[in-house]
């Protein structure tokens, strides 16, 4: 096996991000292992979504490197302390290993569920229409929505839309799936159906990095957890370690906000 399969699926090294004068990430180091589920948790504004968006190259980090299966994403190290911007073709190649799921689903409203899932297969992978649609239908089937293939996003519930969005990302066979608060726009009932799809994906061995407020999901599904606050990683480790008592005071404080919602039950 080559390096890509032995090392971490994705590594973040000394990542900082500034928006204008404000530095929102102060040197993030993070490794996500192959075939494991990594959850990023933390209060709003802690920078967890920004880390994820940098990994998807939707934001360009101000400093630091991101390695996907050992290959640099967007910028390579050197010369010296500087970084070199990589050519667009290289960026596209590395990026194609990553699938992204958004909080707001971001389905294209002028295409059916089938159209959304088959679009990149047709335009990017240049697959013939019939083949792309057969492939897309199989992906929709995996998320339990083959019978909604002809529906437009406006005709689907939020949970169904998010499942279509997951199928859209999976259709391109990424090695890594990034989830940016995938259930934060959903009510509890719809959250369940999306989390079920994600659990199944995790069980199938997909490498997943999930920014989430679902502490229960993080505690039961994640292999490792990163707790962020104010643009820094405060705690990291396996769920049993991160959540064991006595807890880190900042994490305790953060978890206290969940007690009302009963999620604290999940972590004893």
């Amino acid at each position: 096996m080559n390096d890509a399969n032995s090392g971490p699926a994705i590594s973040v090294r000394a990542l900082t991000k500034r928006f204008g004068e404000t530095e929102v990430l102060h040197g993030i180091d993070l490794d996500a292992a192959q075939g494991e589920v990594t959850c990023l948790i933390g209060p709003s504004g802690s920078g967890k979504s920004t880390v994820l968006r940098c990994m998807a190259f939707l934001e360009e980090a101000t400093c630091g490197l991101i390695l996907v299966g050992g290959e640099p994403l967007g910028f390579a190290a050197g010369p010296g302390d500087k970084r070199t911007r990589l050519p667009v073709s290289q960026i596209r190649k590395v990026r194609s290993q990553i699938g992204m799921v958004f909080q707001q689903f971001n389905l294209w409203p002028h295409m059916t569920a089938l159209g959304n899932v088959s679009e990149a297969l047709k335009t990017v992978r240049r697959m013939p229409k019939a083949q792309a649609e057969a492939r897309a239908l199989a992906e929709l089937d995996k998320v339990g929505l083959a019978n909604r293939a002809g529906h437009y996003p406006s005709q689907l519930s939020g949970g169904q839309q998010q499942r279509v969005a997951i199928a859209r990302a999976l259709a391109l066979e990424p090695r890594i799936m990034l989830f940016d608060e995938p259930t934060s726009s959903l009510d509890p009932e719809l959250t369940g159906e999306v989390l079920a799809v994600m659990r199944k994906l995790a069980a199938d061995g997909m490498t997943m990095i999930v920014v989430t407020h679902e502490i229960g999901f993080a505690a039961t599904v994640a292999n490792s957890i990163f707790f962020l606050d104010h643009g820094r990683i405060v705690l990291q480790g396996e769920p049993s370690e991160v959540f064991k008592s006595p807890r880190h005071p900042r994490l305790e404080q953060f978890l206290d906000t969940y007690i009302d919602r009963g999620a604290a039950m999940m972590i004893r």
Binding site: R95, G99, F102, Q104, F105, W108, P109, A120, V124, S154
Partner: protein, 221 residues
């Protein structure tokens, strides 16, 4: 004063020709203006700061001066810079350029109204910039900008009346000509108003139909 229908019957061939002229200059002018305006909006979005600045100036000048003045400058001032045009090409060019500034603004607003996340989703599955424009931005903004475009197309129809000042043989020139010749202004101008109103109603109906057909694409959130 009495309304004489025979007068109109007598000039029917001229009226039909004038109607045809108005119709084709309007339609072709709208298409040219929309295409040019789309290119301007696209260049402003992706062309960098200098291009954006230049095109903003283009739009501001065209929106900040009367169409009548622009037309005079093009038709009478054009020959000084080696641009001598016949009335019809000058009118068509003038209408296209004037309309392009408004279309450019409508399309800019349209681009901006497409949620950023829809573009990010397209980037994340690997669509190129050109593919994003063609497959995501244009179809999505079509439903958003349609009402504004219909307004603009209607407005441009009535602006074709101004082409009469550079002797384009369109409805206004021909009908006011008949009016002066026979001192029959009420007949000719009433008829003129009816022509325009009829076309505006037609455009409005077609627009409403298009909006209705695009309704199913509307955002659910």
């Amino acid at each position: 004063m009495n309304f004489d229908p025979k007068l109109i019957a007598q000039y029917l061939p001229e009226l039909a020709a004038a109607f045809a002229t108005t119709l084709w200059i309007w339609l072709v002018g709208c298409i040219c203006a929309a295409v040019l305006g789309f290119l301007v909006a696209l260049a402003r979005r992706y062309g960098g700061r200098a291009v954006d600045w230049l095109l903003t100036a283009y739009i501001e000048i065209l929106r900040g001066t009367p169409f009548l003045v622009q037309l005079f400058l093009l038709y009478f001032g054009g020959p000084f810079i080696g641009l001598s045009l016949e009335p019809v090409p000058a009118g068509l060019l003038g209408l296209s350029i004037y309309g392009s500034a408004y279309f450019a603004e409508v399309f800019r607003a349209g681009f901006e109204a497409v949620p950023r996340g829809h573009v990010e989703a397209a980037e994340s599955v690997g669509l190129s910039r050109a593919q994003i424009v063609r497959r995501i931005l244009v179809p999505e903004m079509t439903m958003l900008v349609l009402p504004a475009c219909i307004n603009l197309v209607i407005s441009l129809l009535k602006d074709t009346a101004i082409l009469s000042v550079i002797t384009v043989p369109e409805l206004t020139l021909i009908l006011t000509g008949i009016g002066s010749k026979y001192y029959a202004f009420v007949e000719s101008l009433t008829l003129l108003a009816l022509f325009y109103w009829g076309l505006v109603e037609l455009a409005g109906r077609l627009g409403a139909l298009a909006e209705w057909r695009l309704q199913k694409y509307r955002l659910s959130t």
